[in-house]
Amino acid sequence: MTRVLAVLEQRDGRLRGVSAEVVSAAAALARDLGGEAEGIVLGGPGIEETVHAAQAFGARRIRVGSHEALAHYRPEGYAEALAGMIREGGTAAAVLFSATATGKDLAPRVAALLDLPLAQDVTGISGLGGRVRMVRPVYAGKANATIEHDAAPVLATIRPGAISAVEGISHAEIEPLSLALDPERWPTRRLSFEPEGGDIPDVSEAAIVVSGGRGLRDPANWAMLEELRAALGSEAGLGASRAVVDAGWRSHSEQVGQTGKTVAPRLYFAIGISGAVQHLAGMRTARTIVAVNRDRDAPIFRVADYGIVGDAFEVVPRLAAEIRARKES
């Protein structure tokens, strides 16, 4: 039986939302190949309890590897444990990870341990005639490459949001597994974690993004964008153009574009952003784009679905007020 494995991701003992997407992607690929999907998750003791959240997304079983040293992501331990679990049970057709910061750190290590090629940040995956074909953006989304790997299993990380989570009718069995690991040998050690951004979703994961550029003139004016973001609700995040990140106004973690993050939200607001080719590369796959700019000839208006020509300082507060009013009515 052809197997497709999905590596689920947890943080602080809770399964992340992207895990349902990666199981769904594995289940769809398994259907194309005439096989079955299986999930794998690693974590600290008790992690089985949280796996229930992923049971309904089409995997036949979910193997849960637990060890106290794996409660938080530890690259060497996770890579070693996963490589072992992937080797076990015969060759799978594919192993899918989430293209999150953790997934993109982990998958290359597993690939190197198993001597297999890897495709990162895949936005489409399908199986035809027993072969796995993937699409991934290159040049930060200025082009799409369709690729095949001449090795099995095919390893890939799936970009969050690219493949929707679909509930299936199956209900995965959970199979706990305790792992033998030697953390003393691992040459990296996690010292601390400082959360950033509070409850605001990361720009790469937000369903709505409010982005600002140099047209805002001063970092203090981000309060205005924050107000619009807050009016849009908890699924909205903040983004920034490269110019303002280079100027030190905003952190690189918010940068959208070729040397920042590529985003694909449902709704993208480009405020005071002229639309350099590098920025457009990072946000052009947003479903709906709104631009506010004083310059009617700014390139951003050529990709925006809706534009307002005007001063952001007049338009944005009005926009925040209007959205708030509509929500309350």
Binding site: Y139, A140, T188, E194, D202
Partner: protein, 249 residues
């Protein structure tokens, strides 16, 4: 401490992509090439470690054709000591690239390898951690700050939702993202000196790539949008369109 910095020659980020007639490759005709911006951060981090007395030597290595010598000379002009060109093809198989770089690392014997977190052409984000794993070294990715003492390095990783501090036992591979390491500009004396610095050319180990690009395509064009109006008075109509027409609110 000896540092090896891996750099890549890539199309300038403002390049508009043209597809070659074969439908699977990028047409490089008339395109300006630069050092991968993330590799610039790695190089600057290395130069600062040298200036602070923590590193004794900075070597830059690249995999590419003869034209990549220009990228290495650029690195020498800002202060790297030596360049190594692994003459070969850098393709879409990151593991093949990592294997070639492993040979270069073994030949050079550095204590620390720095590289950009990803290249802005292939966007693979994998060569650094693959190289670290192949070598059996400590590795941290997406790092914005580094500091350290004897035999260890402290790195700050940028991950979703926050910053993670990790300690690495050397030797190690670290990939850099944007942080305070903006690459300095070359000085005229630096450019002159670079011409005399050693630049070794070695044939890259032949590793059969196992990744095939079947097609390379431009993304579908977005349909032309419309200007809803001018100034704040256009806001109510915009909000109506977002809700009723686009279904985005």
């Amino acid at each position: 401490m000896k540092i090896l910095v891996c750099v890549k020659r890539v199309p300038d980020t403002d390049t508009r992509i043209q597809i070659s007639a074969d439908g699977t490759t990028f047409d490089a005709a008339g395109v300006r090439f630069v050092m991968n911006p993330y590799d610039e951060f790695a190089l600057e981090a290395a130069l600062r470690l040298k200036e602070s007395g923590r590193a004794s030597e900075v070597t830059v290595v690249t995999l590419g054709d003869e034209s990549a010598q220009e990228t290495l000379r650029g690195a020498l002009a800002v202060g790297a000591d030596r360049g190594v060109l692994c003459r070969g093809v850098s393709g879409p198989d990151g593991l093949a690239t990592a294997k070639i770089l492993r040979s270069a690392v073994e030949a050079q014997g550095p204590d620390l390898v720095l590289a950009g977190v990803r290249s802005v052409d292939g966007d693979q984000e994998q060569v650094g951690p693959m190289l670290g794993t192949l070598l059996g070294w400590a590795c941290a990715t997406c790092v914005s700050e580094i500091e350290g003492g004897d035999g260890v390095l402290i790195a700050v990783r940028e991950v979703e939702g926050g910053r993670e501090r990790v300690q690495l036992t050397l030797p190690a591979v670290v990939t850099l993202t944007k942080g305070p390491f903006e690459l300095r500009r070359p000085s005229l004396p630096g450019i002159m000196a670079a011409k005399k610095k050693p630049l070794e050319v070695r044939e890259a180990e032949v590793v059969s790539p196992r990744v095939r690009v079947v097609a390379l395509e431009l993304p579908p064009a977005r349909k032309e949008g419309r200007i809803v109006g001018e100034g704040p008075d256009a806001v109510p109509e915009l909000v109506r369109l977002l809700r009723d027409e686009a279904g985005a609110l």
